[in-house]
């Protein structure tokens, strides 16, 4: 999921010009889980803006709970058909979702003016209703086979691939003494699994071209093509 956190209300209000008619769009998946743009927060945002003198022409969270704003065909249908009249009267769209959701609204409104209502902070695991934690950096070249599934690109502050730096103390990271050293976590996990030999081989430097921006993925039922500055890679999901 894409973790998001709402921008401060004063910052959001500062985006909106006097007299601008705003339509508020939330996301019923990730932003709902983050309480940054679900149904309740979207309705509340409409009220908060009105209270501050902003003209809000409508608001919606496309789809039922679990439906992502970034599913373009659905969002387009909701905005252009179900809310067609209000959307037609809007000068801009305040999006309570991640950056992908903001772009989805641009596409769904054929190039409408958008304002981000949230900061998109990371891709995370929903550990509990109140805790979202980051375990993957979306680097495009997964290295966690040799680390017991724990990502050093994410859990190590320096993104080291061949073991820890010398900075950890009592198992805690030199950057944040409240957070365990990622490499100590990896080591302890592999020790428990009896697989420490996985750490022995030299790990070559990352291919950062796979972490280039922007990247695309073209998918079909039996094949996917990942396109980055490292080139195109096509993989079949059948023998």
């Amino acid at each position: 999921m894409h973790a998001t956190i709402q921008k401060p209300i004063d910052e959001i209000v500062s985006f909106i010009r006097p007299g601008e008619k705003v339509f508020v769009v939330g996301c019923n998946n990730c932003a709902w889980k983050c309480h940054s743009g679900g149904e309740e927060e979207t309705a509340a945002m409409a009220d908060r803006l009105k209270k501050r003198g902003v003209e809000v022409v409508g608001h919606t969270v496309p789809g039922p709970q679990g439906m992502s704003l970034c599913k373009l065909d659905h969002t387009r249908k909701v905005l252009q058909e179900d809310y067609g009249e209000q959307v037609a009267g809007a000068d801009s769209f305040l999006v309570l979702g991640c950056g992908q959701g903001v772009h989805t609204v641009i596409d769904a409104t054929d190039g409408g003016m958008v304002h981000p209502g949230c900061d998109t902070i990371f891709g995370g695991e929903t550990v509990s209703e109140s805790d979202i934690e980051e375990y993957c950096s979306l680097c495009g070249e997964c290295v966690i086979e040799y680390t017991g599934g724990l990502c050093p690109m994410t859990l190590c502050s320096k993104q080291l691939l061949n073991g820890p730096c010398g900075g950890a103390e009592r198992g805690m990271c030199e950057v944040d003494k409240e957070r365990p050293c990622g490499w100590v976590l990896i080591y302890e996990r592999l020790q428990k699994l009896g697989r420490l030999e996985l750490l022995d081989p030299f790990q070559k430097p990352k291919n950062h071209a796979k972490w280039s921006r922007p990247r695309t993925l073209k998918v079909s039922p039996h094949e996917a093509t990942f396109c980055s500055q490292a080139g195109k890679v096509t993989v079949s999901n059948r023998d």
Binding site: G166, G171, Y187
Partner: protein, 300 residues
Amino acid sequence: MKITKLFDKGKFVVTGEVGPIKGAVSRDWRVSPSCAQEAWHLQDHVHAVNVTDNQSAVMRLGSLAASVGLKQRGIEPIYQLTCRDRNRIALQSDLLTAYSLGIDNVLLLTGDHIQLGDHKEAKPVFDLDSVQLLAMARGLSQGHDITGNAIENPPDMAYGAVVNPNFVPLDLQLLKMRKKIDAGAEFFQSQAVYDDRVVDEFVEKATGFGRPVQMGVVVLKSPQMGAFMNNNVSGITVPDEWIDEIGSVDKSDRKKKAAEMMGRFIKKHKDKFQGVHIMPLGWTDIVPSILEKAEIDTTA
């Protein structure tokens, strides 16, 4: 001169350390930066002097400029190069530049994280880790860059690395040390140690790794510094008895006391190592006294 030649001859190698100034070197050649003045205290007493690379992630004069400055003044520098601020292009280019400017010794490190320094909003680079950096440096020596392209006149420098005996679990740190050796580390300098048990456990486990190791010591100047290091300096633990002992004398006697304490500790453990790396943190003037008390004669 490569310090590996000294290790090869069986010499007990003594190195000191200076930190480049926060500022530029004066165009007036009569005005020496304070780091050069610190280094002069070390001249004739140590075999080489480490020059730190924006240590603790605090922005300063470049380690290469300061290293070249020492070399021009007849002091053998060990140029420290970290992964924190440079991608693989800059790291290789700086290694070629270092050799071209007369540098013979390089210490290759990961580098303290930016969050420990004075530019906390900077982008951390860490394109390579220290093991990958060592392998890349060896590749340059062998005549090719990291992509395999041939280079002209390959550099010929001694490449060192660091290891932290204080790390828990130690076996994980030693796994990295072994990887550094496989990647081309020719000598090691340890992080500062103060604890006899830490020294002995490390020596017992690292014996047989087949690379010379210099024991690292940081001169403890005051009880406040000990407490500060315990709270703020990554990877170093100063035991209470050290803090109590340096605090047992007046400020005016602390240099003398520090020299006595450091000398005593080095003397106790020197036979377990192939050298010592003294980090005086500005008190370079007491290094001769430390060595005297440790009964180390670098002129021999």
